[in-house]
């Protein structure tokens, strides 16, 4: 049995690694939106942000005393990333290639 999510996750891991140093907004499943500079990412898509601010700080002042944070990959709902940093064609190509490989290794 091939674990497709594993391959896809490795692909997006590489993708996120290419975004290190860029400003992103991470929306969590608990509706908290955190804006910060992407510091690092790991294989589970856990994310570390530096110099953070919470988008709706009137509603969520809990994090005002915090500058850097670690976000568990499983609680992320969305990542807003700068459009100019992404090449959709390249990403589509990579995903297709990945799917092709998965199909082949599943058939073998």
């Amino acid at each position: 049995m091939v674990d497709h999510s594993f391959f896809l996750r490795m692909l997006f891991y590489s993708f996120f690694k290419s975004l290190v140093g860029k400003d992103v907004i991470v929306e969590l499943k608990n509706d908290l939106s955190i804006c910060g500079t992407l510091h690092s990412v790991d294989q589970f898509l856990n994310i570390k942000l530096t110099d953070i601010s919470v988008s709706d700080s009137d509603k969520y002042p809990h994090m005002l005393s915090v500058k850097n944070c670690f976000i568990r990959g499983s609680v992320v709902r969305y990542c807003h990333i700068p459009a100019e940093e992404v090449d959709p064609a390249l990403l589509m190509d990579a995903t297709r290639k990945e799917a092709q490989q998965n199909k082949q290794s599943a058939g073998a």
Partner: protein, 85 residues
Amino acid sequence: MANLEDNVGKITLVATGDGRIIVGTLKGFDQTINLVLEDAHERIFSHTQGVEQVPLGLYLIRGDNVACDSEQNLYNPLFTDTLRC
């Protein structure tokens, strides 16, 4: 790699999946982000009164419930009796 090694031994603020805020000294963690916090306090925010701190002692938080983990690098005077939210 995004790991928490740098935060060990430091005062850390953890936001849990259900929106609670727990502050304590990070003593350890593992690959599923289970956390051990020493001298943990829960910060309870409310509309009507200031921030309430509830002492919890030594706490182990299961990784599933951890949303966000961050080093508290300054004493922030905002957390006083006057903050409402």
